[in-house]
Symmetry: C2
Subunit: 192 residues, 2 copies
Amino acid sequence: MGRPKGFSEAAALEKALDIFWQRGYQGVGLTDLLNGMGIARQSLYDTFGSKRQLFIKTIEHYRNTRLAGALALLEREGSPTQNVRDVVRFFEQLALDKRARGCLVANTLVEIGSKDREIHELLAQTLGLLEKGIAKALRQAQREGELRAERSPRAIARALTNALIGMAVSGKLALSKSAVTDIYAGTLTMLD
Amino acid sequence: MGRPKGFSEAAALEKALDIFWQRGYQGVGLTDLLNGMGIARQSLYDTFGSKRQLFIKTIEHYRNTRLAGALALLEREGSPTQNVRDVVRFFEQLALDKRARGCLVANTLVEIGSKDREIHELLAQTLGLLEKGIAKALRQAQREGELRAERSPRAIARALTNALIGMAVSGKLALSKSAVTDIYAGTLTMLD
């Protein structure tokens, strides 16, 4: 039968994202996915190929929507240091979200690590986009005198990206709001 | 038959630590443990009760040996800020170790999360020791004028602990030595 009438791949991916983001990859069964996405088994296979291929498409969808939103903050006119602060705050909001879902990319890195080469490379490449975007903004900040001359934009960008990954794990400690706020405030002192 | 002649619980835990640290908890079978520790199944049960109880004892052993070594750095005379830097360097050395084992506590947090309540509380309490030790040193640093007055010792301590957790995960990206060095250099700017 193929795809049902009115089937939208973007809408299906958005539903898959909700499910994987909340529950991870390995713990979600095919039946949960089909129920959550409201599609038939054959539609999933016709459109995405397999659960694993659906997951890869979902990470790409997350990158093209959520992460792209964070990266767009870096491209705005105005203070590049403030733009970087806003990106970090963007992830703080994810950490403070009651659903405690963290960042899908960091979560998946924790869950799957290097066990799946294709997924691992997609994650490394996606984190690389974030790191490179932050480093570029910090180089501009340095040229404009907003970041101290002795700071390494690349080192700060790498340390900030690392801190964002740490937050995804720290979320598993069920941290208080004050702890999350502290972690971000402390982390942002790298920009002083 | 109980324990063989010359059986040493500390030596057995040291061997178990080697195995769990390298390979995680869930992926290690009982046979691997018995072979690696050089003891019989009955000895393991008599001494530790179960694989899970052995793992809990191993985390405690890690805390009492490795982590205690890091905490002792904080108690030394001299500059408290330098002591904190040395603790961060201590974990950098773990990250640079060719075996790429990271920190057992952070690794276990990533692997087990909150799935096992007793282990989860042991990990949270152990990370709390590190955070509190760093915060205490930073409060002293502030009294002695080594840390800027407007900094929050608690926020910096929490952000540093978070960064150390991030490193345990970043290790899964098979980072280059330059990336690890950058992450630590960037992270340590929190103390400037």
